[in-house]
Symmetry: D2
Subunit: 140 residues, 4 copies
Amino acid sequence: MKQGETYIRVRYSETDKMGVVYHGNYLNWLGVGRTEYLRELGMPYSEMERNGILLVVTRVSCRYRRPAYYDDLVKVVTKIAAIQDVRIVFRYEIYRGEELLTVAETEHAFVNEQGRPVVLKKTNPFLWKRLQEAWEQVPD
Amino acid sequence: MKQGETYIRVRYSETDKMGVVYHGNYLNWLGVGRTEYLRELGMPYSEMERNGILLVVTRVSCRYRRPAYYDDLVKVVTKIAAIQDVRIVFRYEIYRGEELLTVAETEHAFVNEQGRPVVLKKTNPFLWKRLQEAWEQVPD
Amino acid sequence: MKQGETYIRVRYSETDKMGVVYHGNYLNWLGVGRTEYLRELGMPYSEMERNGILLVVTRVSCRYRRPAYYDDLVKVVTKIAAIQDVRIVFRYEIYRGEELLTVAETEHAFVNEQGRPVVLKKTNPFLWKRLQEAWEQVPD
Amino acid sequence: MKQGETYIRVRYSETDKMGVVYHGNYLNWLGVGRTEYLRELGMPYSEMERNGILLVVTRVSCRYRRPAYYDDLVKVVTKIAAIQDVRIVFRYEIYRGEELLTVAETEHAFVNEQGRPVVLKKTNPFLWKRLQEAWEQVPD
């Protein structure tokens, strides 16, 4: 389980007057990719939140190579690019068929409900181990 | 094929600070329901647009009975409530499991790319027939 | 202070591939109109929330007469259409210059942080009085 | 006119269940900052589009230092970080009062309505000159 894959049908509401998906809406899709990937790793993010571990976004970067259009079926591939004590980086590729549309990264801090950083290894060794393993299996 | 059904996983980006789905975002889901329903009826909306027939929204109404939450899997049921020469009304029910969350209606005018009303029966008899049949099969 | 007026510059992100404002995004503007109107009435909604009184949306209806375009400056006029023990209805008109684009209504329940209905007259007589007065001054 | 400044009131619809502005919505604000900056430089983006010059986003990066909350009044400061034949980079800082919340960059290609790159210096020397001047006045 080195990477997650999820499919998204482009919504009309996601387009803009250029006739393509508005660039900001890709960030919503990264969230969908992350949600499904964490679920596959055995720890749904909704459950993480209920357990008091939040993933606060600290950085986003996104490169747009080709546009996506209304009703396209796009695939979001999600991997772990880096994981440290209080921080994790996800990497994403968005495809339409074989065609790479977008490459992105999001960096997150692990925090508790008061917004304080938490050392995941201590707070939730199970989740830490799953994320570590997933990260180690990511091909270069 | 009297009604369409499609499933949507609630996105984090769709929630608001009340902890539930922001009420405006249900309208995006109605669009998803409509898109999938028209596809099942044999006329994808993306194709309709390419053929120069647009569905412009003229009225929306929505009743919110219970909130939806992040990561819920909701079902959008879409029907045709009325169809006339230049106008169509869709009716929607949104469920989480057996629980009815939202009831909505959208009214649309059939227009061409210049925004002029088109009489669907003349412009696209095939689509008109499919929509008529779907409408007639809607139970009261 | 019988009605509120607020101006909104249409954002690129609010348009869709038809080249106009996506119909769902008007609901965000109704929220802006409501926020500014309540502020003018002396009770910012952010403060109401901090005081434990929430306005949960129970119904929305919206009629779209003419489209709004990117970079338009639109005016949202907000009034109170009805107010009862645990319920309030706002009415909105959205203009571009003198031209009426949209007419809408939202109905809300007054609830506490546990989602239980609250009788505003008892819980917050000051706010109740202001809303009552504003409502009575709305012309027919 | 080395930089643009514009104020935005945070909308309820822009928050998420963490109680803060959803990170993806900052990209909409960058668009607002860009729109107002180009207007101040004498070339509204709506006019650029009508003249057949589009700014297609090719890259976005965003660092989130502190969250923004519902009803905050935030200031978007927009500058030109780089400009080349067919490409421009904008840099943004988002503040609440004196407090820096977010730093971002967007890179755009100048393209025509067919999506082909255009050399701005040739296609629109006036706009090119204004952007050049604005860029040269940006302090390091």
